[in-house]
Symmetry: C2
Subunit: 331 residues, 2 copies
Amino acid sequence: MSQADQTLVEGSPKLRQLLSCIADDLSAVEQRLQSELHSRVPQVDEVVRHGYRLGGKRLRPALVLLAGQATGELSDEHLTLAAVVEMIHTATLVHDDVLDEAQLRRHEDTVNARWNNETSVLLGDFLFSHSFYLASTTGSAEACQTIGRATNVVCEGEMQQTLSEGDFGLSQADYLAIITAKTAELCACCCELGARQSGADDATIERLASFGRNLGIAFQIADDLLDLMSDEKATGKTTGADLAKRKMTLPLIHARDALVNGPRANFVDLLESADLERIRAQVKLLGSLDYANRMATNYARRAAADLAELPANPALESLVGLANFAAARTS
Amino acid sequence: MSQADQTLVEGSPKLRQLLSCIADDLSAVEQRLQSELHSRVPQVDEVVRHGYRLGGKRLRPALVLLAGQATGELSDEHLTLAAVVEMIHTATLVHDDVLDEAQLRRHEDTVNARWNNETSVLLGDFLFSHSFYLASTTGSAEACQTIGRATNVVCEGEMQQTLSEGDFGLSQADYLAIITAKTAELCACCCELGARQSGADDATIERLASFGRNLGIAFQIADDLLDLMSDEKATGKTTGADLAKRKMTLPLIHARDALVNGPRANFVDLLESADLERIRAQVKLLGSLDYANRMATNYARRAAADLAELPANPALESLVGLANFAAARTS
């Protein structure tokens, strides 16, 4: 069974169905990733191959391919660009795992758990660098520029987030700005790359980019909810990492803002304590989970609205389905 | 006084003279670096600007410009590419400082000392990403590819070095392979970029690249010697970092190989102890400093030989002078 199949199997039947129109292309992207990610130095090769296994859910390659197919014909360059964005995403995951001191990722040891933080930093650098190299092999300096610009925004967002750790007064607006930069920008970039590679006009490219941005926000809100509420066994990731790192997420911000005076101060003390069970009980009580879920759904709706005026086709429908899936996912 | 002037003033009069034919261009590169390195997020902006101040000695931009001028006319793209390679180098410095747990760089606090390791990791990522973005603005996918390929090799070399820490049996061949990848490859890339941008033919580009590689090896041997032997006040960098990280460098490898049996085992124990003063005394006694200096000089000679058949001009002479300077530098 190929890695792509495994990834699809791990996803729900619903997700598998959404991606069925690009299943073969996703497999081809996996092959490209595997053939690109190696090193002539044996010790280094082992690390690089492990990094490959830690990759994401292939959401970003799917966005490139679906955006490409929704607006034209898929080409070999689409596959390359899909591999590029997955590599960038994996680089950020590997560095995130250093920052979060996480031990588990997709049911595997993280690189920092198996080797050490230094190796993780360098593997992330290798993945970044290789992704840019691979992007350049398309011969399109414009694609390189789109990718470089998006990655810049991602890094700025990550830095803003890190510098905001321990700021329990973080506003909802700042939270949204951070997740828009650190997560949604790369999703927007994926859709933009896919559509431009298919020769779409500027207005269509802009719609796809806006779709990707809204989907990305919905996805990150859902991701933060999972970190707070889910079971480690189900997600295959360390949970409660945000609280441990004193990172404010949407349900916590909502709960804090629903309280005043003493109760608010008590809630902030509770956040300081990072007592996961008691925090979970409080955010449920204050309706903050519902609020965060509604916000994710709203962004998925905005994403669907971005595509409403484009000519209908199966890939476009899959994109809309993917936005809803991202907002409501359970793993 | 501009940053470029400061950098030149900090260098020796000899270095200033070597770079005099590109002094104005180097100043323009500094301006480009300063205008590129900022963030719309105030907290992030502060970190990015600090990162700029930690940059290198501008050796790499000088290589791009001198290689360009030695083989043709300098253009605006040369300045952009010079800024790109300096940004990449700064990214690796910032990540090196995390790996080495260094506190000082160019007489300034490192990013990890002033903020924390997380911020350093992300600043390095931002610098990598921005360098690729900037490279793409030249419109040359070929330049992006050369840069991406070189950065890959640099990351592999750094990973191999990290995975070799604590291996006191590291061979001279492996040491040379590591420094060729982690340092010399980017110097080769600088010269290649400069020459290609000037329209040089393939044979000339190859000569310049080989020159850069040999210069880079000489530079790194000298750098490792400085880490072992120099005074922290003179270099503005933490010294003894290699020993603290159990990293083998050329004088240590030579000293180990000059000994057998008991004395060799004792020397390895001494390396384990990281007792800087006693190790310094031993490598002096065994002629290992002289050996490493001779090796650096030999690589500088090879670099000069790479350029011997090209038509003479002041920029070419400066390149040769720079190779000698790199091998014999004292800070």
